[in-house]
Amino acid sequence: MFGKSVVIGQYVPLDSAMHRLDPRSKIFFVALGIVTLFLVQSWLSFALLGGFFVLLVLLAHLPFQYVLKSLRPLWVLLALTLCLHVFFTPDDALVLFGFLRVSLGGLFKGLFIVARLVLLVVATTLLTLTTSPIELTDGIEGLLSPLKRWGFPAHELAMMMTIALRFIPTLLEEADRIMKAQMARGIDFESGGFMKRIRGLIPLLVPLFVSAFRRAEDLAVAMESRCYRGGIGRTRLRMLRFERRDYAFLSLSLLVFVLSLSLSWLTW
C-alpha cells in the first residue's frame, strides 16, 4: 500500500473533450439525464438516449469495458427486477411452468426498467469517469453556492469533501500500520466467526480514531495559521468558467433530452 497511489473513485485521467468540460455542466447533464430517463416511456426514446450516451463515451475516449464494469455491481438487481416482472405480472400468460407464468407484457415492462437503470448508470458513470474528485468537489461547491444566501454551508461542505479526499490515503496507510502492529502483538484479524471478527476490529478502530482526532486538531491549527477563516473573501486558484464548449454540450444534451421526451409522448 505504501508509495502506491490509492485510486479514489473511478476517475480515468485522459485528455478528451468530455474531460475538459466544466464539472458543473457535467453535473447538470447527469441531473437532467436522470429526470428525462424517468419520464420517457418509449423504446424509441431509449434508443435515442442510448445512442447519445454512446457518442459521449466515444468523445471521452473511454474504453467501453470501463463503462460496462460500472454495471457489474448492478447485475443482481437487474436480474431480479426482470424476473419479478416476468413472473409476477398478472397478465396474459405466454407459457406456464407449473405455477410459474411467464408474461409477455411483464417481459416488456421488465426489459424497459432494466434499460432505464442501465442508461442511468451509464450517464452517472460518464460523469465520474471523466471528472476528478477535486473537480467534482469544485463543481458541487459552484452549483450549491447560490444557496449560501439562505445559510446553506456550500463552502464548508466542499472543504470537508476535499479534506476527506486528502486524508483517505493517509488513514488507509495508518490503518495498515496499526493492523500490522496489533498482529505483531498477537491479535487475529482473519479467523473466527462473524462476531469474533467484528470484535477483532476494535483494536484497529480505537487507535485509528484517536489518531484521526489528533490529526484533525493539528490540521485545524495549520489551516488557521494559513489565514483560513471560512469561505468569506476566499478566491480559488482555478476559477470555474463556462466556456463555449460547455454551452455547446449543454444545448446538445438539452436538445436530445427534449427530443426523446417528445418522441415518448408522441408514440405512447
Partner: protein, 276 residues
C-alpha cells in the same frame, strides 16, 4: 521585527493549582533576515512559544508584537498570520489539499488574491523550494522531506516576513532533515527564521541561538558563545554538538589551541593544522 516582551502563559485557569506555567517571562527579538535557532527539550515550552508567534495563543501577561502589531488585536490578526508563517512537526497533518499545487495555493486563496496572482505565487514558491516538478502529485506520494518543503512553499506563497518552524525536522530522516536545513540556509536572506528544535547540531548554522528551559530563555548568543557553557548544557536537557564536544576536550588540554571555538570539522582541522 517580531518581539516578545516578558511573555507569560499558562494552560488552564490561574487559580487552578494544576495550572502549569508554560512560559514565564520570555523576551526576545527576531529581525528580518536573521536565522535564530531555539533549542529546548521536550516540555520546555518551545511549542507554546511557537504558537504565540502568530496569535494562535496570546500571552496571559506581557505582549507579542509583529512589526508593531499586537497579537491580541483581533483586527490585525490575519495580517499577522500572513507575515508570520508557521510550519509544524508532522508533515502529514498540515497539508490540506489533494494536490501539491492546490495546497500551496491554499494560503493565497484565503487572502482573496486574484487567480492569476495565486498562480504566479504558487509557481514562484514551488520553484523556491525545488518542488516544481511535483506540482500535480498527491501529498501522500511524497517523502517526509518533500512534504515539509511543500508546507514551506505553502507559507512562502503568502509572502511572509518571518518563518517559524516548530520542530519541523523532528519527524524527518537524516536525508530529509539535511534537505530542509539546506533550504532554510537559502531562505535566510529574505525572511527572518525562527527554527525550533531539540537537535543541537542544527544550531551550529544559526546567527543566534537561544535555549529555553522550563518556560524561560536561559541562554542566548551566537552558537560559539552558547556552546562555551560546555557540559553544563546538560542541565537544560541538551547535549553538545559532537564537534564542539571534541573541540572543548582538546581545548582543556591545549588552552592555546584555538582563539575561537570551532563549529565545523573544517574549522577544527584548520586549527589543528596551524597549531605548532
Amino acid at each position: 521585527m517580531m518581539c516578545f516582551e516578558d511573555v507569560h502563559f499558562w494552560y488552564g485557569e490561574k487559580e487552578d493549582p494544576r495550572a502549569v506555567a508554560a512560559l514565564r517571562g520570555v523576551s526576545f527579538v527576531l529581525r528580518e533576515g536573521e536565522f535564530v535557532v531555539l533549542l529546548g527539550r521536550n516540555g520546555s515550552g518551545k511549542s507554546t512559544l511557537a504558537k504565540h508567534c502568530n496569535g494562535l495563543l496570546v500571552p496571559r501577561k506581557g505582549r507579542v508584537c509583529v512589526d508593531g502589531m499586537d497579537t491580541r488585536d483581533e483586527s490585525v490578526l490575519w495580517e499577522i498570520r500572513r507575515r508570520v508563517g508557521l510550519v509544524f512537526q508532522n508533515p502529514d497533518n498540515q497539508l490540506i489539499a489533494t494536490t501539491v499545487e492546490e495546497d500551496v495555493a491554499f494560503g493565497p486563496e484565503n487572502l482573496g488574491l486574484p487567480p492569476s496572482e495565486i498562480r504566479k505565487r504558487v509557481d514562484e514558491a514551488l520553484a523556491r523550494v525545488g518542488m516544481s516538478e511535483y506540482r500535480k502529485r498527491e501529498p501522500h506520494t511524497l517523502s517526509g522531506g518533500q512534504k515539509q518543503r511543500v508546507a514551506i512553499a505553502g507559507v512562502l506563497a503568502m509572502h511572509p516576513k518571518y518563518l517559524v518552524l516548530d520542530e519541523a525536522t523532528a519527524m524527518l530522516d537524516p536525508e530529509g532533515r539535511e534537505e530542509l536545513l539546506q533550504l532554510l540556509r537559502e531562505l535566510r536572506k529574505d525572511v527572518g527564521i525562527l527554527h525550533i528544535t531539540h537537535n543541537v547540531e542544527e544550531a551550529l548554522l544559526a546567527d543566534r541561538v537561544m535555549v529555553i528551559d522550563n518556560g524561560e530563555i536561559v541562554a542566548e548568543g551566537s552558537p560559539r558563545e552558547v556552546f562555551l557553557v560546555g557540559k553544563d548544557i546538560e542541565k537544560w536537557g541538551l547535549e553538545l554538538p559532537q564537534i564542539v564536544e571534541v573541540a572543548l576536550l582538546l581545548w582543556k588540554d591545549y588552552p592555546d589551541l584555538f582563539s575561537v571555538l570551532p563549529l565545523s570539522p573544517d574549522e577544527l582541522v584548520d586549527a589543528l593544522c596551524s597549531y605548532s
